[in-house]
């Protein structure tokens, strides 16, 4: 989801008997539900995979500010503006918690930024879609943060201590994000004018499938998740979470009087869940590999912020050093 494209080694999961004593000890700690902490022994592949996963997650929080930042200055009321500003500020915080967690694994913040800017690290495909109307702020909070919550709640139990603790903080803050989005949808779809209702439906039409894509490829095609699940850095399969999201969202759309853009959507009495259409996976692969509607714009904005801020970062450090020297001279 926020880390949709974490490719592990592709090797099959090694059984306990085949492991080295250190790796077996490590796996048994995870099986017992113990947390792995930064200085503990961990297999190199666990470390590499986690850096990639937490890094992607952090980048998604940061890049994810851009589509919503687009509407802060144009929010319809001062209250909505304050709400959206607080939400976007939270996302910056989420990015920071996660960068810190990744740094405990031995990668630096600057290295992660550089990998993002050079396209060597990904962020969630969802943030490469444009936010065209105010209703999109409703749809993003409701669906995108809703999907994020679905993924993040189980990650509070992930095996790596700093990651789990970051997720606990994040989950505490996410609920407000989804509710403020749904609240915008209520105002527009239930209580709004015909035009506003149309805008709300249009936003749902555009964000439904991209939201489903957030959970990553179908389990049949994601051969790499078994190792991550053994390591408890992935807690559920992509399809499990996607199904859960559909089942929770359908009644919410019904309450709003909106139609989910899927002709095949239907309650299945046998499985007691909704049958639904898969998103277009070709589109997903296109977007994730750089060809979505806003990829260039999003990365461009990140690079510009990083480059334009360089002199500020340097000046602040120089100032702090000078201040420290002056203090030392005074004794």
């Amino acid at each position: 989801m926020y880390a949709q494209q974490v490719k592990s080694t592709g090797k099959k999961v090694v059984s306990l008997e085949e492991m080295s004593p250190a790796d077996r000890d490590f796996q048994e700690r995870i099986n017992r539900g113990e947390k792995i902490e930064p200085k503990d022994y961990m297999p190199a592949a666990y470390r590499t995979n986690l850096i990639r996963q937490i890094g992607q997650h952090a980048h998604s929080e940061i890049v994810g500010q851009l589509p919503e930042g687009n509407w802060i200055t144009r929010a319809p009321t001062l209250e909505r503006k304050a709400n959206l500003l607080a939400k976007v500020q939270d996302e910056a915080g989420h990015g920071l918690y996660l960068y810190c967690a990744a740094e405990t694994l031995g990668v630096t913040r600057d290295e992660m930024f550089e990998m993002l800017h050079e396209g060597k690290m990904k962020y969630s495909s969802i943030f490469n879609y444009p936010t065209l109307t105010w209703a999109d702020m409703g749809a993003v909070g409701w669906l995108v943060d809703g999907a994020a919550i679905m993924n993040q709640v189980p990650l509070q139990r992930t095996s790596y201590g700093p990651y789990a603790r970051a997720m606990v903080r994040i989950c505490k803050e996410e609920s407000f994000h989804q509710r403020q989005g749904y609240h915008i949808m209520i105002k527009m779809a239930k209580e709004g004018t015909e035009d506003q209702k149309r805008m709300a439906q249009d936003a749902l039409n555009r964000f439904w499938y991209p939201a489903l894509m957030m959970f990553g490829p179908s389990d049949n095609d994601s051969v790499h998740s078994a190792q991550s699940m053994a390591w408890k850095i992935k807690m559920n399969t992509n399809d499990e979470l996607r199904q859960k999201f559909v089942d929770e969202t359908v009644p919410q759309a019904a309450y709003l009087g909106l139609t989910i853009p899927d002709e095949n959507l239907q309650w299945n009495a046998e499985t007691e869940q909704y049958d639904y259409s898969e998103p277009d996976w070709n589109e997903f692969h296109d977007v994730i590999s750089g060809n979505g509607p806003c990829n260039t714009e999003r990365l461009g904005a990140r690079r510009k912020a990083w480059d334009d801020g360089a002199w500020v970062r340097e000046a602040m450090m120089a100032h702090a050093e000078k201040k420290a020297q002056r203090k030392a001279a005074l004794g």
């Binding site: 200085k39 500020q89 939270d90 915080g93 290295e111 602040m316 420290a324």
Partner: protein
Amino acid sequence: MSNSKEWPLWEVFIRGQHGMSHRHVGSLHATDAEHAIKNARDVYTRRNEGVSIWVVQAKDIAASSPSDKGPLFEPASDKIYRHPTFYDIPDEAGNM
């Protein structure tokens, strides 16, 4: 390359509303202590989580190593007489 220019890492400790000790909440980058406290305010207390902030540079923290876990902590594990439940007190004696 750019690593050398990275702002130092600080660990952040916050005391909440209810008179508890400062608790480690996470870390952040900042140029000096004053800057670290300002950043900690923004990153870790957006919802009234704290009434007091401590920051300390991560490099100044000394930590026990995972391999010392046995020698450091095992001696306590067989001293169950340090816990109140070790001592049976008859009900007749009342609440204790």
